[in-house]
Symmetry: C2
Subunit: 181 residues, 2 copies
Amino acid sequence: MDGTALNEAVGGIVWLTGLSGAGKTTIAQAVYATLRAQGRRVELLDGDVIRTNLSKGLGFSKEDRDTNVRRVGFVCHLLARNGVVAIAAVISPYQTVRQEVRALGSPFVEVYVQAPLAVCEQRDVKGLYRRARAGLIQGFTGIDDPYEPPLAPDVVCCTDRETVAESVGKVLAAMAACGLG
Amino acid sequence: MDGTALNEAVGGIVWLTGLSGAGKTTIAQAVYATLRAQGRRVELLDGDVIRTNLSKGLGFSKEDRDTNVRRVGFVCHLLARNGVVAIAAVISPYQTVRQEVRALGSPFVEVYVQAPLAVCEQRDVKGLYRRARAGLIQGFTGIDDPYEPPLAPDVVCCTDRETVAESVGKVLAAMAACGLG
């Protein structure tokens, strides 16, 4: 059964996909803060929250990555159908599984957080690219594991060429366009 | 940040613990149906939903069981703080981890779904006890893996001596007593 009929608030999923270091969490946190300030029900599922609470026991094989993305999508959908805006910041490298999450049926805004690999690698906030290049991490997305860009994202944020505020504005506009405004 | 301040509806967690076959899902489904009929926001996380969507990659070691219970608790808490009554039907054999879930801070009703092992084993709806006794399943709770009964449950449902309606009535009364009515 779907809970949406019971709610005044409209819930949905804002899904940020992109390479490590592209700026997913930065934009997600800013969108979260904006919606909170508006008094919206909103939850943010990003890398740390997911690793701590949802993905223990999963590795970096394609199967495990798919399981992780499906799981985050499931939780977002549970929240969304109860009137919450669930913001997910997940690399989610595979197109098919992102589509599966969209197909769960909640209002869905796919945000492609885009920056050239060289830019992400130069930022390297967590030192992960350096470790991947040194062979200390196997199966790192963009280095020795694939990233499939979204075919028809609702928003593209080019984080090497726009400010966080500009990115947030585009996400909020896309939310409004699909009834989540 | 906690979402409860934003909601009119009060969310919380109804946590049913007990042996396989004790009747957790039966009571959980009946409570779910009752609350839905009242127009409440409610979600049910039981064995099938959890296995399909949350626990893939986990086994039956104590560590994996604990991870599973923590994960279900995390999802229930996310829902609860957004005004949803999250009903979980999970064996959750260890007292310490059930306490951790309670300590997350949502209104919490612990329901001990109690039936003697012999009764659960005789019911054996899924044939699991037979397979455990035959050695085909290792680490089966109540057979060769421990179950720690709740020390201070909010409700005890003795499913060998009361009807489902009686059990549901007790759960609803306990919910009301902690502000979830």
